[in-house]
């Protein structure tokens, strides 16, 4: 059985909260990162204990996407346009994680 990559997901959530407290961003941007971080954390709590069949493609894809967003966010901090794209990707991840819950075969 496989799980969601909780280390990558945690890393993304911590980055969202870091950006929510970053005074280089506008208040609206900070609010958006805070909301996304909280929604991702809500999804993390739901999916943290979920287990999936080995090779479940959607779980593997979500884990790859988490790695990609983290990598991209690392370089996007000084590029506001790129940061906007990654915010959209992080928001989309909330939906992806919620939809994965239906595929879980066991919890904890």
């Amino acid at each position: 059985m496989i799980r969601i990559d909780s280390a990558s997901l945690s890393k993304l959530i911590v980055t969202c909260f870091d950006l929510a407290g970053d005074d280089a961003l506008s208040q609206a941007q900070r609010d958006a990162w805070m909301t996304t971080g909280k929604r991702l954390r809500g999804a993390l709590l739901n999916i943290l204990t979920a287990q999936f069949e080995n090779g479940t493609a959607k779980v593997n894809e979500a884990n790859e996407e988490l790695k990609r967003i983290n990598k991209s966010l690392k370089t996007a901090v000084d590029d506001l346009e790129k940061l906007k794209d990654e915010l959209a990707a992080a928001k989309a991840m909330v939906g992806t994680l919620d939809s994965l819950l239906k595929l879980a075969i066991a919890f904890v």
């Binding site: 059985m1 799980r3 909780s6 280390a7 997901l9 945690s10 959530i13 911590v14 909260f17 870091d18 929510a20 407290g21 900070r30 805070m34 971080g37 909280k38 954390r41 993390l44 709590l45 943290l48 204990t49 287990q51 066991a106 919890f107 904890v108």
Partner: protein
Amino acid sequence: MLNKTTIVAIAIGTTACATAGFKRPVADFEAGISKTAEAVSVYYAELNSFERELYLQERALNPTLTVATQSGGKPTALAGQTFSADSIKVRTDAIKLLGVHGKRLAALAGSDAPSDVAAGIKALGESFSGLATSFSSLTETDASATKYVSPVTSLVGLVTQSILEARRDKLLTEAVTNGAPATRTIISLLEKDLDEIVGPQRLTGTKQALVELIRDYNRRKSEMSVDDRRAALDEIRKAQERYEVAVVFSPSELFRALSDAHEALVTYASSHRRNPDAAELAAKLDVFRERAEAAAKEIARLRELKRGAA
């Protein structure tokens, strides 16, 4: 030529050294296990109260949010439980079982294990006889629990056997060949649970709590008196420290040290009493005891910060 008194003195001295050789690894392993079980059980147990506090903090800082026991047909963090009390108890009992197994290994390997120690280990082992059943009963709500059943059954089977002098070598071989794989599996399962489930929740939760306090301060700072600002900034400092503890506390390191200590005990036991000095064993057990003490201190610090914040 040695007189009778000298011979008796040498004999007493030799026994004392040998006894010390047995007692030291057992005491160090027990101390490490006890601290590990304490730290890990607090860490698990506080998961539920941690989410409750975060939920209440959000509502204290944001008057538009309401408090509810249920939301969308599910219990909110106010009432919900991330880990059930039963799931926590079986895992901390599994850690304690590892301690009994370690104690038994050392007793079998030492040339000087006193018979009351052997009887005590058996009695202690029997107190875990229902543990595998407890893990089995959780499988509907706690899928990982199933994985503990087989290794726990093996270890309980070993630690409840009497240490009979005549069968000591056979028992020792069994303890090493059957006990070591079961112990490795249990350590690895505990480490995985903590790394994949407990750690991420704690890390992201403490970060969220910190940033919420910062944002609240920035929003209200101009309306606050100097004393109110000081109080709010003190809360932020404590939240930052709680986050740092979450970053620093590494269950992996603790379990790696436990794993190394166990492997050293196995090597010591496998030497069939030919290596009573066991310098390597002592060094590994020292590291384990130190890591476990450090973990217990970090957990105590977390509790202190929590009390201060209340």
